[in-house]
């Protein structure tokens, strides 16, 4: 047992940990609307957190993606030539590079952003698909013999939008299949979809209401690599509600009707499926399948 543990530790020490932070930079988030300084504060925490991740192991890697109301962009790393940079203080060169690049990129994005008149949603699920593409590329390119563990941290203060349901689900299942952990730090409300995603991929979900201690929260809960989280006491997983909501009224239901062709969920019986236009034949409840006794097969 001990040997297994030791091998696991050794494996963890030599593996490459890739952290992709998906940062919601949508100006219609509650905390940004309260005060634009809040976004700067969140950004500082995210940079410090990203650098703390890089500090853990020499081979660790980081990527930061901004999800804004009009586009999704990489803040770090940027393809092509790196920013030429001269050390100005005692900060480690690589960390300064992260800080400079992220701030510069985000500045560009905010400058070029179209003005928005009314609040609109962040396309977080889309940004996560981009993160997955990026992770899958790095994982393909890992040298023979090396191992890479990847995770995605979503930091958002947006509300959830049900229109992204399918994309979110596809993201979670892909992450689960590739062994990518999805962590979420919600800055405003509890997000039930992302909560499901964390549950499906064994990630952590945390709701932080005070921005002041954000960095400490991040360092405590999200810094430990998923492989070592069992060694630390972390917030227990919340009970996740996996009920479906019906397509007709979007209400959570206990018992519903599911179309056998397209699996749409309805809260009451209707003769035609509104999604795939199938006409259903048998109205009323289905006959309950009789329990079969094991029968002796007639053989030759």
């Amino acid at each position: 047992m001990d040997a297994v543990e030791q091998a696991a530790t050794k494996e963890a020490e030599s593996s490459i940990d890739l952290l992709v932070i998906v940062l919601d930079t949508n100006p219609s988030q509650q905390f940004v609307r309260q005060s634009p300084q809040n976004l700067t504060q969140v950004l500082e925490s995210i940079i410090a957190f990203g650098n703390a991740h890089l500090m853990q192991k020499a081979q660790n890697q980081l990527a930061v993606i901004s999800c804004s109301h009009h586009s999704t962009d990489f803040l770090y790393p940027v393809p092509g030539r790196q920013v030429e940079l001269r050390q100005i203080d005692g900060q480690y060169e690589a960390f300064s590079l992260v800080e400079k690049t992220v701030k510069q990129q985000l500045g560009n994005i905010l400058m070029n952003a179209p003005r928005l008149s009314s609040p609109c949603e962040s396309l977080l699920a889309g940004s996560m698909t981009m993160a997955l593409c990026y992770i899958s590329r790095l994982q393909r390119n890992v040298a023979a013999g090396a191992k890479m563990h990847s995770r995605i941290l979503v930091v958002t203060g947006s509300n959830e939008c049900a229109s992204q349901y399918m994309t979110f689900m596809n993201v979670f299942f892909t992450a689960q299949k590739l062994g990518i952990v999805v962590d979420t730090c919600a800055l405003d409300k509890t997000l039930s979809l992302l909560q499901q995603g964390c549950d499906i991929t064994n990630g952590q979900f945390l709701k932080v209401t005070q921005l002041d201690g954000l960095l400490q929260y991040l360092l405590w809960v999200f810094l430990p690599a998923p492989q070592m989280r069992h060694k630390l006491v972390l917030p227990p997983p919340p009970k996740v509600d996996y009920r479906a909501s019906c397509f007709c009224h979007r209400e959570l239901i206990d018992i519903g009707y599911v179309c056998s062709v397209c699996l749409s969920v309805f809260c009451k019986y209707s003769p035609i499926c509104t999604t795939c236009h199938t006409i259903f034949k048998t109205p009323g409840p289905l006959p309950i399948k009789p329990k079969k006794k094991k029968k002796v097969e007639k053989q030759m």
Binding site: T167, F247, C276, E297
Partner: protein, 438 residues
């Protein structure tokens, strides 16, 4: 319809594939072969995905019997180490994949041992049971001939009583070239046709007429394997749900979505036993507080999906349904273009990058790029494959607001949004369905 395509395909791979292969390889301007080889590799990668045609009606709730030949011929070592062991190994992968892709489906295994058929596992939705049964099959003694008819009869008997809205299928893995049947097998085949049960056969030795006939009649697929890799491809092609059979009755199925919300706040739920392990002697049920309760009769189950033993309600969770949606709304194929068509980024020294993975595109590896016709973004070949085979969501269509469900535009228009928003959980009209399938 799928059947017609098969009919046309008279030539075999080995009859055509290797003719003049050198013609495909051409030297580039520098007299190097690199680019030609890269192209061949690219084409091979995309092959599988291009073959996937869009289906609009699929049999999503599948009841599938895998019939495994356990006769003497399965001990032949042409597939390493033996046909049987190779089959079992691949079936393990198949079962995992099957339940991953078809979470509300059920599977059962039948073994053809010495002219008899033996049901190894009943139709059930848990992979664990099947994997355990497969382990047991590895030590089976392989003697005598199989009986295809007995196997089909046994599967037929069970599938007959399955509700008609489900897709009913049989996949036979045949090692033997002969079958030893009690009566005329055509009777069984007619019965299968009548019931609309789709039969597919994978032959490990050579093509057998009766098997080919069976698959043609029942609209299944037929394949004789070349080697283990080909066998794997053949088997995994059964993972994707087939088009809905004509005889399949479409209906609305009542389902329960268990949840654990009805507990009193701050108080632990009472200890209880789960129904799934009550009769199970190997792993007796444990008293615990967690579990899923049937919303109709409150009996408890430790894992989903399951059919409630007391009231017969199918219990699932929302993600189980969501797992299948990608079959219904696949990402449409991208357009293949040459790299030069990608616009150069002015702010980054005029490099071209893939919109998905941010890779800097460079010849010769990225000679061909792929463009989504909806969001007009360009992707590298690896992302193209990843998006279509694994992710099932186009990156551009989901990150660019104008394209993504037209939400951003709706905001601009103002007034007409409410009507659209009520439906945005899932597509409800054919127009929206197109959006979602992007």
């Amino acid at each position: 319809m799928a059947d017609d395509e098969n009919e046309d395909q008279k030539e075999y791979r080995w009859e055509t594939g290797y003719e003049k292969t050198w013609e495909a390889i051409k030297e580039d301007d520098d007299g190097l072969l690199d680019s030609a080889i890269a192209e061949i590799i690219q084409k091979a990668k995309r092959k599988r995905q291009v073959q996937k045609a869009k289906q609009n009606r699929l049999g999503m709730m599948r009841h599938l019997f895998v019939v495994i030949d356990c006769s003497e011929s399965m001990s032949v070592p042409d597939l390493k180490p033996t046909r049987l062991l190779c089959t079992l190994k691949l079936l393990e992968i198949f079962i995992e994949e099957f339940f991953d892709q078809n979470p509300i489906s059920q599977l059962g295994i039948i073994a053809l041992k010495a002219k008899r058929a033996e049901k190894i596992t009943e139709l059930t939705g848990t992979a664990r049971v099947h994997l355990k049964a497969l382990e047991g099959l590895a030590n089976v003694t392989l003697t005598s001939e199989p009986s295809l008819q007995n196997g089909l009869d046994m599967a037929l008997k069970t599938l007959k009583v399955v509700p008609s809205h489900a897709s009913r299928e049989i996949v036979v893995i045949m090692g033997s070239l002969t079958t030893c049947d009690p009566v005329d097998i055509n009777l069984t085949i007619d019965e299968l046709v009548k019931e609309g049960i789709r039969c597919s056969v994978i032959s490990l030795s050579a093509e057998i007429h009766v098997c080919r006939y069976l698959t043609q009649k029942t609209l299944g697929t037929y394949g004789a394997v070349l080697d283990d890799a080909h066998f794997r491809d053949q088997l995994l092609s059964q993972v994707d749900p087939p088009p809905a059979a004509k005889t399949q009755h479409n209906s609305l199925i009542r389902m329960g979505f268990p949840h654990s919300k009805d507990e009193v706040e701050g108080k632990d739920a009472p200890l209880s036993m789960c129904m799934c392990h009550v009769d199970n002697l190997d792993e007796p049920s444990e008293l615990c507080t967690t579990g899923h309760h049937c919303p109709q009769c409150k009996s408890k189950y430790c894992e989903l999906p399951v059919e409630c033993q007391s009231c017969g309600l199918t219990l699932v969770s929302a993600p189980h349904l969501a797992r299948s949606y990608h079959h219904l709304f696949p990402v449409p194929n991208y357009e293949e273009l040459s790299m030069e068509s990608v616009p150069q980024l002015s702010e980054c020294d005029g490099i071209r990058k893939c919109y998905g993975c941010q890779k800097v595109l460079s010849a010769p590896h990225d000679k061909m790029v792929f463009k989504c016709s909806h969001c007009k973004q360009f992707y590298c070949i690896d992302c193209d494959i990843f998006i279509h085979e694994t992710l099932h969501a186009c990156v551009g269509c989901n990150t660019i607001p104008g394209v993504a469900g037209l939400i951003y535009q709706q905001q601009q228009q103002g007034g007409k949004t409410i009507a659209a928003e009520t439906h945005d959980m899932l597509p409800s009209t054919s127009k929206q369905q197109r959006q979602f399938s992007m």
